[in-house]
């Protein structure tokens, strides 16, 4: 896994907050957004749907909608405007528990 993209320049004296990203345990800091916490430990948030590249957010003000990622329970969050909470289980792709088109076709 690529190392973190972001660099902390200030405000390092905050409580540690545990979270899971793609099954691995990590720590962010209290007050981090989901985007900050994830990009401190890896380089990207998700795979682009319409191109070969990966994505890591773009506007950070809730306008571009580039940074939506999944949680283990299937609910998505906009990473730049969602505060990190202890125990969050975040995923860069659709979680395994999510119904797929092929399952749907089999049932039909």
């Amino acid at each position: 896994m690529q190392k973190g993209r972001l660099i902390r320049l200030a405000e390092n004296d905050r409580e540690q907050i545990p979270f899971i990203f793609d099954g691995q345990p990590f720590h962010g800091l209290a007050g981090d957004t989901v985007l900050t916490a994830v990009l401190m430990v890896t380089g990207v948030l998700r795979q682009a749907e319409f191109g070969p590249e990966k994505r890591a957010g773009f506007c950070l003000m809730g306008a571009c909608q580039d940074c939506w990622i999944w949680q283990e329970d299937g609910v998505r969050v906009r990473a730049c405007s969602t505060p990190l909470k202890a125990g969050m289980q975040l995923c860069s792709a659709v979680p395994d528990s999510w119904p797929t088109m092929s399952e749907h076709d089999e049932k039909a």
């Binding site: 660099i7 200030a10 380089g43 990966k54 506007c59 003000m61 809730g62 580039d66």
Partner: protein, 452 residues
């Protein structure tokens, strides 16, 4: 009592709320942020330690004053405040508001829209890579999270934020590789006149900042390409004003060409638009009080790009206009009007100095991604134009540029240039994308009751 809804709690929204509260009314304020202040006076989450001076520099006093005004109104229960909430749709005196607990409906009699602006973007080959951000994003990351978005940073574009951000990043200890300004020197010389005569101190401060980053700064640049590998940017290629090719190595690129008014809700509320030559974008038509349609008032950068000081004036004026229209006692608008006119002259200077790089866009190579949301290329839009005809909305329907989840915020101005160039027309002839609800993606679950 008439119900007033203010959308946005930046400088304009806060000043509008204050005028209403002083007149004895209790407006509803809906704001997307966790804490009021807007973008330029954005507040970090609670528990962060940097001082206002560190966060806002020369504007610290204004920022703190604005935050205190709003916090006091909330404390005294003088406003109904909905933070972390977005208006996603509105019509006929009813707004749909998306918050952490789902969507609720908010009826209103009078509407003040102060939704601000986003970075105005120009596609650059490679800009879809992870690690390419808007300039605003880099400033938000620094201010509200205390982080730099990369180890080696190249900033490119035009406008006041380019130099300000470079200055702020260096001060905070980030590693800057280059600051690439696409504005020609002649434009900058023309613009600085209006800037200096309306706001000499601010202008001198800008020039001083520019001198401070002279080591990194390159003017009159044409951007060619962001070279990337699977992890993101590795270099930016650019031409200097003599046409010589250069490369700046990096792992993060910040892009932005001044600002684009976020007019989505204004459009849904019935505002009329005019292509503004100076700001190279479609802006709502209003009087000096922001009257845009019956019972609809606009203020701040979502109406015209005048910056935070101008937004404070415009917010006050919108509320004053609204009070006048309700036949209520309103404060004297003359001092706000005078100040706003001065800010507008300054804004005109800025727009002249840092122009929209029309030629750079019109000559983009076909393979350049134009729409970041859905990966539609410049070449695909050129092809679409052949059979859609040179009209923005038809090109959108058939070619999908502007239909992705950002709703055209970041592609439609460049898209219009591509369509216009393909038909050899001035960009005004291509028209403006009609806004559609929802203004933000809304999950279906937000509209479903738990009981059902």
């Amino acid at each position: 009592m008439k119900q007033i809804l203010i959308v946005g709690a930046g400088p304009a929204g806060i000043r509008a709320a204050k005028i209403f509260v002083d007149a004895g009314l209790k407006p509803i304020v809906v704001d997307e942020a966790e804490r009021a202040g807007g973008q330029i006076y954005r507040r970090p989450p609670k528990g962060f330690g940097r001082s206002a001076k560190e966060l806002y520099g020369s504007e610290a006093v204004k920022a703190v004053a604005l935050h205190q005004i709003f916090d006091k109104m909330v404390q005294k229960n003088q406003v109904s405040y909905y933070p972390s909430c977005s208006v996603v749709a509105l019509a006929n005196g009813l707004a749909h508001v998306l918050g952490p607990d789902g969507v609720f409906q908010c009826p209103y009699d009078k509407l003040i829209i102060a939704t601000g602006a986003t970075d105005r973007l120009v596609p650059v080959p490679g800009w879809q890579a992870p690690g390419v951000y808007s300039l605003g994003a880099a400033q938000i990351a620094l201010k509200a999270q205390g982080v730099a978005l990369g180890q080696r940073i190249v900033l490119a574009g035009a406008g006041p934020l380019l130099v300000l951000l470079a200055h702020q990043l260096i001060k905070a200890g980030a590693t800057l590789e280059a600051v690439l300004d696409t504005s020609p020197r002649t434009a900058q010389m023309r613009g600085v006149f209006d800037m200096f005569f309306s706001r000499p101190i601010t202008t001198l401060r800008g020039i001083w900042m520019r001198l401070g980053i002279a080591h990194y700064y390159r003017g009159a640049v044409t951007l060619r390409e962001i070279t990337t590998d699977e992890n993101g940017p590795v270099a930016v290629s650019w031409l200097d004003r003599r046409g010589r090719l250069h490369q700046s190595k990096c792992d993060m690129v910040g892009l932005g060409w001044h600002l684009r008014a976020d007019t989505h809700l204004a459009d849904l509320a019935g505002a009329r638009f005019k292509r503004d030559k100076q700001f190279s974008q479609w802006l709502p038509e209003t009087d000096m009080f922001g009257r845009a349609a019956e019972d609809v008032y606009l203020a701040g950068d979502g109406l015209r790009i005048v910056g935070a000081d101008g937004a404070e004036c415009a917010g006050s004026l919108a509320a004053i206009g609204c009070l006048q229209d309700m036949a209520l006692t309103a404060p004297d608008p003359s001092s706000y009007l005078g100040r706003l006119k001065r800010m507008m002259r300054f804004a005109k200077g800025i727009a002249t100095a840092f122009p929209w790089p029309e030629k750079m866009i019109r000559t983009l190579p076909n393979e350049t991604v134009l729409c970041r949301c859905e990966g539609v290329t410049v070449g695909q839009l050129r092809e679409t134009t052949d059979w859609s005809g040179p009209e923005a909305n038809r090109a959108k329907s058939l070619g999908r540029v502007g239909m992705g989840r950002c709703q055209g915020r970041y592609c439609q101005l460049a898209g219009a240039e591509i369509v216009a160039a393909a038909a050899n027309l001035p960009v005004v002839k291509v028209g403006r994308l009609r806004s559609q609800p929802p203004a933000r993606p809304a999950p279906i679950s937000a509209y479903v009751d738990d009981d059902s």
